[in-house]
């Protein structure tokens, strides 16, 4: 039997608050063998990050390890975590933007880490720092560079180099790739895996992403509500989950399932709204948007600078048929959200045109009345469930506003009826009208956001990453809701996401964006089976897909 490197025995972490104490981790036992990668997976609030923090003795206040022991090579470390922290057990944090000191050169940060944990001469430390940079694939000539000159993926490599520099036996990685694009995520995870195998370092990988777990870890522990639900070899657990929670987690994880969406035409003919191939709901032609990055007006005039411009969207054309879903996929910075804002009229295109039901939205011939009419029929569901609802407004008022503004109800009773109807359509109860947004969970807030979009009886809804902030099980529910609503009201969706698996199950046609350009446009089936463009192929290969 392989020796247990790290052992957590019956640990509980309790947070004492004024509303009573709350157990974030409840009687959890885990062990980590030498050289293995153990995944800890769970949804938000499962206690996975706290477990990682507990190992390093970094539980945020007012939390405390209330019972249980943590031992490293048979020695208890929960009493004095500083003993091992950094030297034998180190950590990789989620956000590489804040885990590096922005004011210090990366080389100096490496040397400092090395010298803190193993006293050696500066020359020796310098050598080792250079070597560790080479290991993570960063050109040693960047030794004297500052963190802000690196991209997110490169920064996370530097963080890995920092974590590995003292030669730790265990690395706790808390969502190390969540803030990265898929292509970077893939590279960073592969690098982490390779280095840890080489150095026989064990890793505890904390993540919410089943795809990452599947592709990276040897064993997986599934957490729910602070308790260990299931633990075992990754493939087996994910293939044959024994616990019902793991089963539902695996089920709700979106997979690339070509044609898994029900085309309305698959249903009984004559009953369901059909994809109307003839009439286009929304057409974008050579849409281009430039941004002005120069300093504020006053300072620009003062310093006689010219305007600095950047092209965010570069002549993108696409068209969406009525009743269809069009997916736009791309990395961060590819211009997806800019396109969404131009379609709904929050941004004016620098050039190009958007046509809705045959009417040019950017034409100067539109009266205020006409443009208001069009606004009513193109609505949007936003990404963040926290920022998209005004925190000072009750749900009833949030839903009432569009109804009032567009004059959709004649009387107060009518308005109330409509609000109740909307809440019912998105699966919320009537009593919710009196509540404030903070009383709802992320998924429920997203439902409210959808209800607000529906309030004006739109034809087209732009969904800008509507589920990227949600847990997988909630994501599955929201996606289902969107599909149901599409069928019920024959809605047209422009679905914007970075997640290939999500878009594969939603869209009829997909456009792939890269650096502001539309590089490929295909039907969903064709894109996933025969991608044409190199970048699309790379994206598909890099996506962490649960593929069992």
């Amino acid at each position: 039997m392989v020796e247990k490197l790290l052992e957590l025995k019956h640990i509980s972490v309790t947070f004492k608050t004024r509303r009573g104490s709350f157990k974030a981790v409840d009687d959890l036992s885990l062990d980590l063998k030498e050289g293995e990668i153990l995944g800890i997976v769970g949804e938000s609030g499962a206690g996975k990050s706290i477990t990682g923090a507990a190992i390093l003795g970094l539980i945020p206040s007012p939390g405390k390890l209330s019972s249980g022991t943590i031992s490293f090579k048979g020695q208890r470390i929960d009493l004095n975590p500083k003993l091992m922290r950094g030297s034998k057990i180190s950590m990789i944090f989620q956000d590489p933007l804040v885990s590096l000191n922005p004011l210090r050169r990366i080389g100096d940060q490496l040397i400092e880490t090395i010298q803190t944990h193993s006293p050696c001469s500066s020359a020796e430390a310098f050598k080792r720092a250079i070597k560790s940079l080479e290991e993570v694939g960063i050109d040693p000539s960047r030794f004297d560079a500052y963190p802000h000159t690196f991209s997110g993926g490169m920064r996370q490599r530097v963080v890995i180099a920092l974590a590995l520099a003292p030669g730790p036996a265990v690395i706790v990685a808390d969502e190390p790739t969540t803030s990265l694009d898929v292509s970077n995520q893939d590279q960073v995870l592969k690098l982490l895996k390779k280095l840890c195998k080489e150095k026989k370092t064990s890793v505890i990988l904390v993540t919410h992403d089943m795809g990452v777990i599947f592709q990276t870890t040897d064993r997986v522990a599934v957490l729910y509500g602070g308790r260990l639900v299931e633990i075992g070899v990754t493939r087996e657990v994910l293939k044959n989950p024994t616990h019902s929670y793991t089963q539902s987690l695996v089920q709700s994880t979106p997979k690339i399932e070509v044609g898994s969406f029900k085309k309305p035409t698959d249903q009984l003919d004559g009953f369901q709204p059909k994809i109307d191939e003839q009439s286009k709901a929304l057409v974008a032609e050579k849409l281009t948007r430039e941004f002005d990055l120069s300093p504020a007006w006053f300072f620009r005039k003062l310093s006689f600078q010219k305007q600095k411009r950047v092209l965010a969207v570069d002549s993108v054309s696409f068209s969406i048929n009525k009743g269809e879903t069009y997916g736009l996929v791309g990395d961060s910075g590819s211009g997806k959200s800019t396109i969404a804002k131009m379609v709904v009229g929050l941004l004016k295109p620098s050039s190009g045109a958007i046509t809705f039901n045959g009417k040019n939205l950017n034409g100067s011939d539109l009266s205020h009345r006409e443009s208001q009419k069009i606004r009513q029929r193109i609505q949007m569901v936003f990404q963040s469930p926290y920022a998209s609802l005004n925190p000072r407004w009750k749900i009833g008022d949030i839903l009432l506003e569009p109804i009032r503004v567009f004059g959709l109800s004649s009387s107060i009773e009518d308005e109330h009826k409509r609000i109740f109807e909307l809440l019912d359509q998105v699966g919320l109860s009537k009593s919710d009208v009196q509540k404030y947004p903070h009383e709802f969970s992320g998924g429920q807030r997203q439902r409210i956001s959808i209800a607000r979009a529906l309030a004006s009886k739109p034809d087209v809804i732009i969904c800008d990453e509507p589920t990227s902030a949600l847990d997988v099980s909630i994501q599955a529910q929201v996606l289902n809701l969107l599909r149901e609503l599409q069928r019920e009201f024959s809605l047209t969706y422009l679905f914007i996401t970075h997640d290939l698996a999500v878009v594969s199950s939603m869209a009829n046609n997909i456009g792939v964006l890269n650096k502001g350009r539309l590089i490929e446009e295909q039907s969903s089936e064709m894109l996933f089976s025969k991608p044409q463009h190199e970048h699309t192929k790379m994206l598909l290969a890099a996506a962490p897909i649960l593929d069992i």
Binding site: R18, F298, F382, Q383, A387, S388, N390
Partner: protein
């Protein structure tokens, strides 16, 4: 009310001795000022009630001529200091509150405009604020006071003294509020609920007023409280320098100025009691404001 009693704010309040003490002190002083005419034994603003024979009576000692006893003694005019302090407190608080209201109004309005509309208007408003920041606010207040007095006909000067005081302090304190509101507005206007409001075609005015304004008010509450202490001190300073409340309607600052003349001739009480009152008022308002800031900003905890 029930919601308030269960809120985090109330929970923190009850558990902070400084907050409770300063709040009780501020409320007591406000109540004393509001009900001054019921509490005060004499009306210090009424020259007819003054008896010159009572001048310079020490606290709690019977006057040599009239035999009257005064809690805090009298000043050179024979005015009961306790009554004068109560009424002076009223003037000081009134000027302070009104000046803060004026500063908050201007600051919130300009800050919202600068933050929401941006561009050259933002540059204009904020550079104006920057320029004003380069002068001490008491200097600005004296400047405005001087100009306003110059414009007013002499007959109105004493009558309008309080209004001019409010105007000059209010105009000198709006900058910090405008800056805070502007920065909060810059954050709020990028949030998606504002985009959602624009999507349904609301005009910018309504978005500013109905959506953004309620969300930028909590830092304003904190700054307004701290500005209140500043305004009270500014009023006292102006009155002490002789450009504030007239001696016929003395504020705490005026009383301190009067007392200062007699400090070295043995009549210490004329200076001491108004000064202590001013100290308690400014200190407790400041402490309460500090506590409010710490509580509403979880990052400082």
């Amino acid at each position: 009310m029930d919601r308030f009693l269960h809120s985090d704010l109330f929970y923190d309040f009850v558990r902070s001795p400084i907050a409770v003490i300063s709040f009780v002190l501020v409320s007591t002083l406000i109540l004393l000022a509001v009900f001054a005419n019921f509490i005060a034994p004499t009306n210090p603003f009424d020259p007819a009630s003054l008896n010159l024979m009572n001048g310079f009576t020490a606290p709690l000692e019977p006057n040599a001529f009239t035999g009257e006893v005064f809690l805090m003694g009298t000043d050179d005019q024979g005015r009961d200091l306790f009554s004068a302090i109560l009424f002076g407190l009223r003037v000081s608080l009134f000027v302070g509150l009104m000046a803060v209201a004026l500063a908050t109004g201007i600051g919130v309005f300009l800050g919202l405009l600068a933050g929401y509309i941006g561009g050259w208007l933002d540059s204009l408003i904020m550079r104006l604020a920057d320029i004003q920041m380069t002068f001490p606010s008491i200097l600005i207040a004296m400047l405005i006071y001087g100009v306003a007095r110059g414009v007013l006909p002499p007959a109105l000067r004493d009558e309008m003294a309080i209004s001019v005081l409010i105007l000059s302090i209010g105009l000198s304190e709006w900058v910090s509020i405008a800056r805070t509101v502007r920065s909060s507005t810059l954050v709020e206007k990028e949030k998606e609920y504002v985009a959602a409001a624009r999507l349904i075609g609301l005009n910018h005015f309504r978005i500013m007023l109905r959506h953004i304004l309620p969300n930028v008010l909590s830092p304003v509450l904190v700054i307004a409280t701290i500005t209140l202490a500043l305004a009270i001190i500014a009023e006292a300073t102006l009155s002490f320098l002789g450009v504030g409340a007239p001696p016929t309607k003395p504020s705490l600052g005026t009383l301190i100025r009067v007392g200062q003349d007699f400090l070295f001739s043995g009549e210490w009480w004329i200076l001491l009691f108004p000064a202590i009152t001013l100290l308690l008022l400014a200190l407790s308002v400041n402490l309460f404001g500090d506590w409010l800031r710490d509580t509403l900003n979880p990052r400082l905890k």
